[in-house]
């Protein structure tokens, strides 16, 4: 009888603790991540603002892809763009692709930015920030580094330095 009671009580307490514990865990500890390192990068397509050519992420398989989310009002983005362009020039023939997605600004502003900074990599407008939402992007700039096999190698939130950017790019070089 006594043993029975102990088993029943332990079971009930266990259920209660499990339910409450689960709730606490989800609420306080689980990060609300949409996409994380080692996930497959979600496919998308953009149209380059100048050439009007369409780039699909899945078509880039085999190359290391840098996905940079940016906006023209964002100062850190402005600081990065010059050396992103420079590094792109160095690595574009070594299997690196850079796709820059603008957070839904006007074509005029984006075009002007591209020509002012002399950007040579594909830059497109993420209309209504759909892709940005899909990738769970919060602050700008946020840069995703995708390995040649399509998996996310690194997510960098915030401004990078030229050295660190170079390092990250090297990580996703195809062998």
């Amino acid at each position: 009888m006594k043993k029975n009671r102990l088993i029943v009580r332990t079971a009930i307490l266990a259920i209660l603790i499990a339910a409450i514990g689960y709730t606490f865990y989800i609420n306080f500890f689980k990060k609300d991540e949409v996409i994380a390192v080692n996930d497959n990068a979600i496919n998308f397509e953009i149209k380059d603002i100048n050439t009007k050519k369409t780039y699909t992420l899945s078509d880039q398989k085999g190359k290391g892809v840098v996905i940079n989310f940016w906006g023209s009002w964002c100062d850190p983005c402005k600081h990065e763009m010059p050396f992103i362009n420079k590094v792109y020039q160095e690595y574009k023939d070594r299997g690196i692709q850079i796709l820059a997605l603008n957070a839904n600004e006007s074509p005029f502003v984006v075009s002007k930015f591209v020509s002012d900074y002399g950007l040579t990599f594909p830059v497109g407008i993420d209309k209504d920030q759909n892709i940005l939402d899909l990738y769970g992007v919060g602050p700008l700039p946020t840069t995703f580094f995708v390995s040649p096999n399509g998996k996310i190698k690194r997510i960098k939130i915030g401004e990078m330095t030229e050295e660190s950017f170079r390092e990250y790019v090297k990580e996703i070089l195809p062998n």
Binding site: L6, I20, I42, N104
Partner: protein, 549 residues
């Protein structure tokens, strides 16, 4: 369970007050019996306690439950002293607000975590404790109570009867006749009367004893519903803004649904058109300032096929709908509620190219603030080029024009104006109430010719599969509450003891009403109505003391 033996031979669990078998009260006092649980032992009273038992005992105590309720009460009150974090106006920075606005008091409040009382871990812990307490308190008591009431006998031990609150001994020569008379009256009053050896037990309203347990189950289900909200997929609360003319994807619908806003209607109360009765109050607030109705006339679209994100989706119309407050648009488990709006957002500026000397105007050109063109050809020889555009203009640290955000809150333009008179072009910086000519005096200028605005609707995108759990919990709670509060469990024992008739009565609530009923039942019979031993004892002691158990 540890047991002890009653004099009748039956083994009772420890803590039993009234023997389960013969009904003899186990203590030797003469004061009134506590009938709360029919004298049964709560299951948590045991001799050897393991840690599990100790935890169980802790949560099965009503005193602890009351303490938890009161702490929750006080915490909730503290959470209203200063505005909570998520209810601050959108312009406030939550991290500095409390210190800035309320000084030291605000700082302490923030530090204690009270700025976010209701989402904090300790408040959640309080609510969880209430939940645990509900489960364990109920389980602890309901099974013994159920068994006791189900198995109760008609004939009770004399000590039991003596120690009921309503009790009286009487005698009569016509026992059989009088008892039958009383029995009939009881049955007319809807009592269920059981007979055994010439003794009667009249009972009604037993179901009301379960009331508290039913309402506790309701609360447990309700709290379970609250827990369920944290399970991914069960609950979603997002927002979307759509401007007139725009079609936007509904967040949380996996790209399947799109909403297009055709028109946002905003009506106010105007003294001229409204019922005269409202005149005074409209004038007090201001004509056209009290909102009468706002609604978003939208079309709902469903995506066809499986496009890649970034590709323009192919849409199929589902339906048209006017979303009003209190009238959400519902589809596929998702509800869109009209919650917010922005009126008269600037969408386009019109300019005329003006010859400053003659005042002659050319144009106008319309500059779309979300997609301005680079070149505006007015007529041969007259051209305006947009050189720079700052949707949310300010002068940055370097003294240059820059934009704060991408939203056209404060548009500024750098125009280059080319006319036959000025073929090399003149540059002007044009912003709201500012016109800067960097290269000295221009012959032409861009004159503001008009403004286009559009309204936007703010919709709340809501998915909630927990609502039905919460509703059922709430409904069961109300049923249990009404069951327990509005009905009473009444019992009358009428027993033949030698030559006497012993009558005892018990109700769990409302002795006043019970006594009124008993008056009517025993009126004009030889059997005397049971007396209230609580009030009688009081009349013996002077000064109005109360009998406390």
């Amino acid at each position: 369970m540890e047991n002890f033996k009653c004099e009748c031979g039956h083994m009772n669990p420890i803590g039993t007050v009234i023997c389960e078998s013969c009904g003899k009260p186990q203590d030797d006092n003469s004061n009134l019996l506590d009938m709360k649980y029919e004298g049964t032992a709560r299951r948590s009273i045991v001799k050897n306690k393991t840690i599990i038992d100790k935890i169980w005992n802790f949560f099965s105590s009503v005193k602890i439950a009351i303490v938890i309720i009161l702490i929750t009460l006080i915490a909730s009150a503290l959470g209203t002293i200063l505005p909570q974090r998520d209810l601050l106006p959108p312009t406030a920075n939550p991290d500095t607000f409390y210190k800035d606005t309320y000084g030291v008091f605000g700082q302490i409040y923030d530090w204690l975590g009270l700025d976010n009382t209701f989402q904090s871990w300790w408040f959640m812990l309080l609510i969880s404790s209430i939940g645990v307490s509900l489960v364990i308190c109920s389980l602890d008591r309901i099974i013994p109570l159920y068994r006791a009431l189900k198995n109760q006998r008609v004939t009770r031990h004399t000590n039991f009867l003596k120690r009921q609150r309503l009790f009286k001994i009487s005698s009569t020569k016509n026992e059989e006749e009088q008892l039958n008379l009383v029995k009939n009256r009881l049955e007319k009053k809807k009592y269920k009367v059981r007979e055994e050896n010439g003794n009667l037990l009249a009972e009604k309203g037993r179901f009301s004893r379960w009331g508290p347990y039913v309402n506790h189950i309701g609360l447990i289900i309700f709290l379970f519903g609250v827990l369920l909200r944290y399970v991914p997929g069960m609950y979603m609360d997002k927002a979307m803004w759509v401007q007139e003319g725009q079609t936007k994807e509904v967040p949380g619908s996996n790209g399947s649904y799109y909403v297009q806003l055709h028109k946002f209607i905003f009506e106010t109360y105007d003294v001229k058109t409204e019922n005269k009765i409202f005149r005074k109050s409209i004038e007090r607030v201001g004509n056209d300032r009290i909102p009468k109705n706002y609604q978003a006339n939208v079309t709902l679209y469903k995506r066809v096929g499986n496009p890649i994100p970034g590709e323009d989706p192919k849409l199929k119309k589902v339906k048209d709908y006017s979303i009003k407050v209190n009238e959400p648009l519902q589809f596929n488990g998702i509800s869109l509620y009209q919650v917010d709006y922005r009126l008269n957002e600037m969408t386009a500026f019109s300019f005329d190219l003006m010859n400053k000397k003659t005042g002659e105007l050319f144009g106008p050109i319309k500059v779309d603030l979300s997609n301005p063109k680079a070149i505006y050809q007015i007529k041969p020889g007259y051209k305006v080029e947009l050189k720079s555009y700052f949707p949310d203009f300010y002068f940055n640290k370097a003294g240059e024009p820059d934009t704060r955000t991408k939203n056209p809150n404060n548009p500024a333009f750098v125009f280059k104006m080319t006319t036959p008179e000025t073929p090399q072009g003149e540059v002007a910086f044009v912003a709201i109430r500012q016109n800067i000519e960097p290269n000295g005096q221009n012959k032409y200028k861009m004159a503001f010719a008009g403004l286009e605005t559009k309204n936007s609707t703010g919709l709340s995108v809501n998915k909630d599969y927990t609502l039905w759990v919460l509703s059922i919990g709430g409904a069961i709670f109300m049923i249990g509450l009404i069951q327990g509060m509005y009905w009473y469990h009444r019992r009358i024992w009428i027993q033949r003891q030698n030559d006497e008739i012993w009558v005892a009565g018990f109700t769990n609530k409302n002795y006043y009403g019970f006594k009124q009923e008993l008056k009517k039942i025993f009126n004009d019979t030889d059997i005397l109505m049971p007396e209230d031993q609580v009030l009688d004892k009081k009349s013996i002691n002077t000064g109005g003391e109360h009998v406390s158990n």
